[in-house]
């Protein structure tokens, strides 16, 4: 790493001025940039307020504030962590395993400014797999930051109502550094090794959903069940919150998926269309399954199914046609219903709000079906005129990507949790859990 002044490190002006003068900056596309600014705001809306309300409505009254604050705190922590080293580790060239610290504190982010105008940048510049962008890097950094925020926030659904807030804050930092950033680099950086395998993940089925869902499962297993599971009334406090939250997630997901086209173009439009269809089919599939199995279609059921459909279409959104999206939504609605209502009880783990049941299972279904249903022309480029085509080799690549994500996530998440348990403890005491985390951890309550 070059030596830069502290000021340069903190404010991203570390690039040599001579380099700026020498390179004539490429123009940005204002349409693309406008859409990515909107998408970024939409994805942030998924975490705060969307996920916060979705989860907050599903816990008991005494834990609502503690659950809402988890999403909010993770948003604050990861934003600054992303500025510090997260973006650099995930998206600087580095090697095939991890980026380096050359972009720490967003060093060089001002390099493309010239007379007050930012120009486009190239992701992976200087490598054989460089990807020229049509948006400013500041927008790309911010867009990716919102993904890094929602991923650990999703995990919170698995350990809700029993984890210490202090431990959760430290867990978030370590998990983003050692699990999220490497996997994001493997899959999305032009230099990443999973990308080189031919595996694709359009908007984060592997990086975000499988990753958070599997980490959630590990958390649920390491922390143990909430007290009273199977005996006490743990019914949701206010499903109105959960419905509002799920609705915000749905709308925000257009930024997540259609934004992952990284431009205002037809692929973004198709991704938006497939997202809508998969969510709708997922909601209906869960609803029908529930109607059949328990006799009543519930509000929590239909919103869970819609989120399952959104999760599963995420890796596929820019690769499949509308018909494929409906199939993915159907598979996700049925599969996640099965995972959340049968598998969980059969295996006896307490994934409180079904982080694994919906995000882990849905992510795996979507990642694998991407390898089956991908329609080549949607992703074809000059460099790859065939595009990503659903085929056995593609399915195998997808399976490999899913497998390595799960293995890395399980091992590293487990180690982080065990170390934290030894150092500071993971779980509140039995009395604290009974009193509720709102009062015990935050000194506040809903009256």
């Amino acid at each position: 790493m070059k030596r830069y002044s502290l000021l340069g490190l903190l404010f991203g002006v570390g690039a040599p001025l001579s380099a700026i003068a020498a390179d004539k900056p490429a123009p940005i596309d204002t349409g693309d940039t406008a859409w990515m600014l909107v998408s970024t705001a939409l994805v942030l809306m998924m975490t705060i307020p969307g996920l916060a309300l979705f989860y907050g409505g599903m816990v008991r009254k005494k834990n609502v504030l503690a659950t809402l604050i988890q999403s909010f705190a993770i948003c604050c922590i990861v934003s600054l962590l992303w500025m510090g080293v997260g973006y650099s580790l995930a998206f600087s060239n580095g090697n095939q395993w991890i980026g380096d610290l050359s972009r720490a504190f967003l060093n060089g982010v001002a390099a493309n400014f010239h007379k007050g105008v930012d120009s486009a940048f190239t992701l992976g510049a200087g490598t054989s797999a460089a990807v020229p962008m049509t948006i400013p890097e500041s927008v790309y950094i911010m867009y990716q930051m919102t993904f890094a925020i929602i991923t650990p926030a999703l995990i919170a659904g698995a350990f809700a109502e029993r984890m210490k807030f202090s431990s959760m804050c430290v867990f978030t930092v370590l998990w983003v550094l050692f699990v999220y950033a490497p996997i994001a680099h493997w899959v999305w950086s032009p230099t990443g090794w999973v990308a080189a395998l031919g595996a694709v993940d359009f908007a984060g089925g592997t990086v975000v959903h499988i990753n958070s869902g599997v980490a959630g499962l590990v958390c649920a297993l390491v922390l143990g069940k909430r007290r009273g599971v199977g005996t006490d009334d743990l019914a949701p406090f206010n499903l109105t919150y959960a419905i509002v939250g799920a609705s915000l997630l749905w709308v925000g997901w257009f930024g997540f998926n259609a934004g992952s086209a990284l431009g205002a173009n037809g692929r973004a439009g198709m991704a938006m269309l497939t997202t809508q269809l998969a969510a709708a089919m997922g909601g209906l599939a869960w609803m029908v399954m529930e109607w059949w199995r328990t006799g009543k279609p519930t509000a929590l059921g239909i919103i869970s199914g819609a989120v399952a459909g959104l999760v599963a279409i995420t890796p596929a959104a820019g690769f499949v046609l509308p018909g494929g999206a409906v199939l993915i939504g159907l598979a996700a609605g049925v599969g996640c219903f099965w995972s959340s209502t049968w598998l969980k009880h059969k295996l006896g783990y307490d994934d409180s709000l079904d982080a694994f049941g919906v995000h882990g299972t849905g992510g795996i279904i979507g990642a694998l079906l991407t390898g089956v249903l991908a329609f080549g022309p949607l992703s074809a480029t000059d460099a790859n005129p065939v595009g990503v085509v659903g085929s056995l080799p593609q399915l195998l690549s997808q399976t490999e990507a899913v497998g390595v994500t799960i293995v890395w996530c399980v091992v590293v998440t487990f180690v982080i949790l065990k170390v934290l348990d030894l150092v500071m403890g993971l779980r509140v005491s039995a009395e604290e859990e009974l009193e509720g985390l709102d009062m015990v951890l935050h000194g506040e309550r809903i009256n």
Binding site: L234, P236, T298, L300, S304, T341, H345
Partner: protein
């Protein structure tokens, strides 16, 4: 004077109020309450997990009436709150020793 206390299903409140007005009932006190009777609560299912809810939301109505119309009021509450299904509730009747209007100091049925 009688104090009539009725525990009814929440959605029957408006029916009961409308039925009582023509009888000359001047006032009504309503409280949101929870409890259980022979029904012993109900089962709720969230994502496959069954929860036994012991205390079901109900409405408690308290109304004070003169002896002359007490039976008619009881009959009216019974008819207007009835659905015929389990959980329709109870009516409790007790003698009331005294009633005082705070503003004027009137007592007895004159304070109704």
């Amino acid at each position: 004077m009688k104090l009539i206390t009725a525990i009814i299903k929440p959605f029957k409140l408006d029916d009961v109020r409308e039925a009582l007005t023509p009888l000359g009932v001047q006032g009504l006190t309503v409280t949101e309450v929870k409890g259980f009777g022979r029904q012993k609560g109900q089962t709720e299912i969230y994502r496959g997990a069954e929860y036994r809810v012991s205390f079901i939301p109900k409405i408690k109505i308290e109304v004070v009436v003169g002896d002359a119309i007490a039976d008619e009021v009881i009959e009216t509450i019974m008819n207007s709150a009835r659905t015929g299904k389990i959980g329709d509730g109870k009516i409790m009747v007790s003698n009331l020793d005294q009633l005082i209007r705070i503003r004027t100091g009137e007592t007895g049925e004159g304070a109704l």
